[in-house]
């Protein structure tokens, strides 16, 4: 069953992204952590917008909320929105150069961080540190390599949407 194997590849990549996004890092590196799960979700939404979309984003967001111990629903609200934005524009975004998509991804990661910050601010007092947004730059730095790597994986396992 090819589609079964397709989902196998997709779900194991999400699994790895979840692990990467909570993996313990040395203290000085932890602010540079890229948004693995969001990038993985954006990649798969771009590659197969009819299979991976809001629903998967919602479930992944819930799992991430539980893993991080945040208020349930924070990531489950933000991830589907960005996945949706990619899904409705996938034909345009696919045609963009990698540099352009990198900027778009950076912008989306920034919006995501900003949203999480505002939501947390509504919950309790927060002392804000500017380096909270450093993850945006690491995400942008990693995105081109990540994109090429994931495309290689996708082509190797022949994961594609059949329309």
């Amino acid at each position: 069953m090819p589609s079964f194997r397709n989902y196998g590849v997709i779900y194991s990549s999400f699994f790895i992204a979840l692990i990467l996004s909570i993996m313990p890092l040395p203290l000085f590196l932890t602010v540079f952590r890229p948004e693995w799960l969001l990038m993985m979700l954006l990649y798969w939404t771009l590659a197969m917008p009819h299979k991976i979309g809001s629903f998967h984003a919602f479930i992944l967001g819930l799992i991430l909320d539980l893993l991080l111990g945040s208020t349930i629903g924070m990531h489950a609200i933000s991830l589907p929105v960005f996945s949706y934005a990619f899904a409705i524009n996938f034909q345009q975004i696919r045609c963009f150069s990698i540099a352009k998509t990198t900027i778009i991804v950076g912008f989306i990661v920034f919006l995501n961080q900003l949203f999480l910050y505002v939501i947390s601010l509504s919950q309790q007092e927060i002392v804000f540190h500017g380096y909270y947004f450093l993850g945006v730059f690491t995400s942008m730095l990693i995105w081109p390599w990540f994109f090429l790597f994931m495309r290689a994986i996708r082509l190797k396992f022949n994961v594609a949407e059949k329309l």
Binding site: I19, P24, I72, G73, Q124
Partner: protein
Amino acid sequence: MKTIFTRGPSYSIRLGIVLALAIFLFFADSKFNLFSSVRVYLNSFVSPLQYIADVPQQLSKTISQYIWTRKALQKRNFDLEKKNLALSADKQFLLQLQNENKALRSLLNSKKTFINKRMITEVIRVRSDPFKYQLLINKGKNDGVYIGQPVTSTLGLVGQISQVGNTTSRVLLIVDSSHGVPVRVRRNGLIANVHGSGDWNKLDIPFIQSTADLKVGDVLETSALGGVFPAGYPVAIVSHFAYVKGELYADASAKPIAKLDKSRYLLLLWPYKDNLKKKVDLNDAKLP
């Protein structure tokens, strides 16, 4: 085959449904706390992921344990033995004091029970929400951990349990802005409250009279008011105390004594009998 035109709205509808659900969950959790009972199962559901993510860290720890030199090990062993000797001597003294205390209390007819159950737990250093001050530990409901349980380190109070799973739980640290501890000043017994400020190294002490006898360097310890924390555990050292002109209360803040972000092992305490009993009951209920 679907055409391009039929795809558009279905995305929006899916997004709408999912968003409505997510927003409902968010308010259910943040405002009405509907998940407090289901949290155990939810946390147990994701805890394997957390243990897997922690594997590299554990591996590097085990490897670094293997590459001690013989000399370093000997020195460490010697130091530990020395420390152990000193501590056991102290313990004898403590036992005698405890007996004396018991005798005095029985004379006064005031009863105080000492429950000494405690458990060492290890911090799982996976990432958690950057805006909440919390730690994940590797003990859970299966070990009898309950919500509101006090957690200390070898230096001082760390926080209390805020979420429980079967094999993991979360410790809300005293510096989280939603956390407060009733304390007293060790020097003169002055009673105060210590609130988290949302910064690693600062605690607020609100509602202290400007004329109160509080000095920079005073040790604040738990006062056991409120019934969550047992009395006498050091919490913080006063780092700032200033009279503000025209204000009713002084401007005071403190520094936590425990190294909140650096400690690897923490201690779980069972200070009150009812909670222990509750745990035993739970276990009995599970047997048949």
